[in-house]
């Protein structure tokens, strides 16, 4: 009896759950191995955000006097830089999917006895870990340059939840674009729109209240704006100034939950879209 048929002969629900969890971890392991052997995929997305945290934030604080509020500008931009590092990291991860397709490696995975959406989820797991490490590096660099952080248990929870959901959204977006485009050049061409443009609208370097009304309204519709407000609420701004700028309500906890719901909604919708687009692109119809 073959190993496969033996596995199929085990009590089905338990065996199936175990096999599928194992398959998902195997896909994540493959992506992690490939990523670890391409160090530029880890280092390149970090360069810009690291320079923001190390050089730009302290320099701008010194030149402009900061935000003129209780929030330290170095840490404000340090957290804002996460709004660049996560999208860049996810876009690079999306590029790997395109490479898999062009080198043919994806064909072997599509022939495996696993649901095809696992390929999206396996890659997403690694993108989450990588983005988390990169975010820790950016925050660490900001702290080294004098950024002030007020870290509490609840704050860490808000920070992690926002970072996690925003990474899910960004990776799903990158995966969707990777499934739709045929050439790597087209994907690279989409990078500024996917990863850099939102950074300028979402209040990464300044509060969105500093923008004209129309631009602020656009910013409020973007998941990055909500994610950044939550990240700052978690680590540097317990009063929730960024959340007030979005919602204008009196209860900061309600505002935080609302922003988290917005990011979660974007993450869930984009994940569904990416799974659907990938699954359709995997089968020739």
């Amino acid at each position: 009896m073959s190993a496969t048929s033996e596995a199929l002969a085990l009590p089905l629900p338990r065996a199936r759950r175990a096999r599928r969890a194992n398959a998902l971890l195997t896909l994540a392991r493959r992506r992690a191995l490939l990523t670890s052997r391409t160090p530029r995929q880890i280092a390149v997305p970090l360069v810009g955000p690291a320079l923001l945290a190390l050089i730009l934030a302290p320099a701008l604080k010194k030149a402009t006097g900061g935000l003129h509020s209780h929030i330290d500008y170095t840490s404000f931009v340090g957290v804002g830089a996460i709004g660049l590092v996560i999208p860049l990291s996810c876009v690079f991860a999306g590029l790997s999917v395109l490479v898999d397709r062009h080198t043919g490696a994806q064909r072997e995975l599509l022939a495996a006895p696993i649901p095809r959406y696992y390929l999206v989820l396996g890659n997403m797991l690694v993108a989450l870990v990588l983005a988390a490490l990169q975010a820790v590096v950016v925050v660490g660099l900001s702290a080294l340059r004098g950024g002030a952080f007020h870290i509490t248990g609840a704050g860490v929870a808000w920070f992690l939840a926002a970072a996690l959901l925003f990474t899910v959204f960004m990776y799903a977006l990158a995966e969707t674009v990777a499934s739709r485009v045929t050439k790597e050049e087209d994907f690279v061409g989409a990078t500024p729109v996917l990863a850099i443009l939102p950074f300028f609208f979402a209040g990464a370097l300044f509060p969105i209240s500093a923008m004209p009304g129309v631009l602020a309204a656009i910013a409020k519709a973007m998941p990055l704006t909500h994610a950044l407000a939550l990240l700052r609420y978690g680590f540097i701004d317990p009063s929730g100034k960024g959340l007030h700028d979005i919602w204008g309500m009196s209860n900061v906890t309600v505002e935080a939950w609302l922003s988290l719901a917005v990011v979660a909604l974007f993450a869930a919708a984009m994940t569904l879209i990416s799974v659907r687009v990938f699954s359709r692109s995997a089968v020739s119809r």
Binding site: L33, T38, E108, A111, I114, V283
Partner: protein
């Protein structure tokens, strides 16, 4: 026991291109079945439908009893594919590639370790298994891919043009390896190829595919037997059809004689070669390059389709 069961399988791509036009065949357990045809004949689309990466537009197919359309996971669990192009992860070692396949196919780790050991020895890649695949030659990669496909002990192994792009020496070595594995593991193999000698050497039965249809399906020997033991082939000036008509009218060629380009082929069916040559020479056909030889599957293909592989490939 039937490992592959295909009924009325059909694929029409958007835009109306009919790649596969309703094919039927069964492959028994342990049999090697060849799909023979030039590029564009529909072989890879057929493999795509059987491996669930191409959605059929009609008909059905079962692998190990599992319907590829309604039970794709089960169908994929009993099969493995060696693709036409190399699809290994070059940045990983050979062992890592094999282990990943084993895990995805649900092979328990100790069993996978033993199987990898056994297969890498059998396929002659044991010494390079811990090297990055990027450093492998084309032939070594192909051997690794065959080892990878067999790690999960599939009931059905698809080999899609397994020797394309390999130099002749490695190609022949690989065919030997496939034949040995087949003898040892009794795995059912569906192999697509446009090399006629490959089909003749490997396959128990061959389906000749032309424009998405089977024009013949039989044992290679049976297909060749239709042309007899010897054929007379020559080049003619002034039109093949006119030459064939003249030869048929004088009883020198039967209905199974055929021509392509400037070349006429006449199955001798036991007739003495010297007698046939004399008759042709007396026909004032301006024939040249006359030769008597044993028929090949190429002749069978030309006779059945009126074209040769080179016209498509």
């Amino acid at each position: 026991m039937t490992s592959i069961e295909v009924r009325g399988l059909r694929k029409t791509y958007p835009g109306g291109v009919e790649a596969v036009k309703g094919i039927d065949f069964d492959v028994e357990h342990g049999e090697v079945f060849g799909l023979l045809g030039p590029n564009g004949a529909g072989k890879s689309t057929t493999i795509g439908m059987l491996t669930t990466t191409v959605a059929p537009t009609g008909g059905s197919a079962r692998l190990g009893g599992y319907d590829v359309a309604t039970q794709p996971l089960q169908a994929r669990s009993v099969s493995s594919v060696v693709f036409q192009e190399s699809v290994v992860d070059g940045a990983l070692s050979g062992r890592e590639n094999l282990e990943l396949h084993a895990r995805l196919w649900g092979v328990e780790s100790e069993r996978a370790r033993r199987r990898i050991e056994e297969l890498t020895q059998a396929l002659g890649v044991a010494e390079l298994i811990d090297r990055k695949v990027d450093s492998y030659s084309g032939g070594q990669r192909r051997r690794l891919e065959i080892a990878r496909a067999l790690v999960s002990r599939p009931q059905v192994l698809f080999l899609d043009e397994p020797t394309v792009g390999l130099d002749p020496r490695i190609r022949h070595e690989l065919l030997d390896v496939i034949a040995e594995l087949r003898a040892r593991d009794a795995v059912t193999i569906l192999v697509t190829t446009h090399y006629l000698d490959e089909a003749q050497r490997l396959a128990d039965r061959v389906a000749i595919v032309h424009h998405g249809e089977f024009v013949a399906l039989d044992r290679p020997q049976a297909l060749l037997a239709g042309l007899g033991e010897q054929i007379l082939e020559f080049r003619v000036e002034g039109g093949v059809e006119a030459a064939l008509q003249s030869l048929r009218a004088r009883g020198l060629a039967g209905d199974d004689a055929f021509g392509l380009g400037a070349r006429v082929t006449i199955p001798l069916h036991g007739r003495a070669a010297a007698e046939a040559l004399r008759a042709i020479e007396g026909e004032r056909l301006r024939a040249s390059e006359l030769q008597v030889r044993a028929p090949t599957l190429d002749d069978v293909y030309i006779q059945l389709t009126g074209t040769c592989f080179g016209e498509h490939a």
